[in-house]
Amino acid sequence: MRTQTYELNMGPQHPSTHGVLRVILELDGETVIRAKPVVGYLHRGIEKICESKSYPQVLPYADRLDYLHSMGNALGLCQTVEKLMGVEVPERAEYIRVIMAELSRIASHQIFLGSLVGECGALTGFVFAIRDRERILDLFDMACGARMTFHYIRYGGVVQDLPEGWVEACRKFLDDFDGMMETYRNLLVGNEILQARLKGIAVLSAERALAMSASGGVLRASGVNYDVRKAEPYGIYNRFDFDVPLGTVGDSWDRMMVRLGEMEQAARIVRQALDQMPEGPVMAKVPKLIKPPPGEIYHHVENSKGDLGYYLVSDGSPKPYRLHVRRPAFVNLQLLDELCRGYLLADVVPILGTLDPVLGEVDC
């Protein structure tokens, strides 16, 4: 029988496209022939805005790139500018930064896990993940007064020392964290329906992953051992003992399990950092008016979505001449078409979920 393909517009207003992503699907029945992501519905021109702002004013915008891992974004930008200026960050600040970035990674992966299973239909798993993430947000709220756009990590350190009782609260969270992981494992990982939904779906080979310059969990699920924290340790990451979880098959399931493993490793890093954290100042001597010397620099960090890079060109003025962000979510999202082909309409949503795009970062 001769069949006709048809186009289906998924988004930009669709409950499971992670924001305002639009995917133009070409379908044959329910089989996907082509899935074309259309981005730009959340484009705010952050890179261009940054050219007209002074360095301290640029920093809040970094929080708004990948708003689920704000601390990591801010950490990357601060380290870029510090590298160009040659600023030495105090020890305690370095530890606080690592703690914040890793907690933020856990929170981001909780959203990833929750939204992935929520899109597969297990809404309770979604709510559990969100509920547990709330504990981390409470910690951030204590430290900097905001729950989402923190603006806590600054050039030269962090803006304020941790408040009284914060370390204890964080330890308490880490104690409960194992229980949370246990719940996720029992409710979601062990669930045969979820396994059937994700295993063997959208297999990404290591070669293709590298060729498409995927990074983060997407790359590691395909078995490529690349983590910026290990490959080019920035900050003080070489002082911690942690593993890089790797996948074997590169399917949706591996992409989920790698993220779950990363959550545990992040908790491990936070534990070590809390133990090793010294007393002392949290802010280096940084001039009020930040004017990096003329030059250019590229610095990248391992964000929850992948390899987040900042390319900064300075002309010696108090405003960046050019700031370009290599957004891992944007790069990973281009795999969507390739991964979706030949799978069913119902697979598109989990595949999109395992690529974990945050539209704030994709569109920038």
Binding site: K53, V58, F128, P163, G190
Partner: protein, 143 residues
């Protein structure tokens, strides 16, 4: 065995059914705000302000507009101070850069309105109204 995961899942949700709930009845139970909470509107203490304009200068979005006048002694004085909450990023840069520490967050975060204009706040008027109310009855106003 196939189906074991399904049954453990059912066990977890059933256990959750009888547990204490995580949510609060919001308008009756107010959330506990932390000491460093950044939210609500900017509260200005006009008499402390030296009208240096650093807050406005440091704001990434230009959400603070202030007008200064010179008084008889040639001293700069604040005449207007407008804060646009709609444009505010809550980055805290204005407060950190204030040499007199005369602005702070009022932490009253529930000020949704029906019009954009409700988000533009005349901070001097608010401060004066608050002072007047304190003089009247000493009671805290809740605008």
């Amino acid at each position: 065995m196939y189906g074991k995961g399904l049954l453990t899942g059912l066990g977890i949700t059933l256990r959750e059914f009888f547990r204490k709930k995580a949510t609060e009845r919001y308008p009756e139970v107010r959330p506990k705000l932390t000491e460093r909470f950044r939210g609500g509107k900017l509260a200005l203490e006009p008499e402390k302000c030296i009208a240096c304009g650093l807050c406005s200068l440091n704001c990434p979005n230009g959400s603070i507009r202030l007008v200064t006048v010179k008084d008889e002694a040639g001293k700069r004085k604040l005449s207007e101070y407008e804060y646009d909450a709609g444009a505010c990023m809550y980055c805290n840069l204005c407060i950190e850069n204030c040499p007199q520490k005369c602005i702070r967050w009022d932490k009253k975060f529930d000020f949704a309105g029906y019009d954009r204009k409700h988000l533009i706040i005349d901070c001097i008027a608010v401060a004066n109204a608050k002072k007047a109310a304190e003089r009247e009855g000493g009671a805290e106003t809740h605008e």
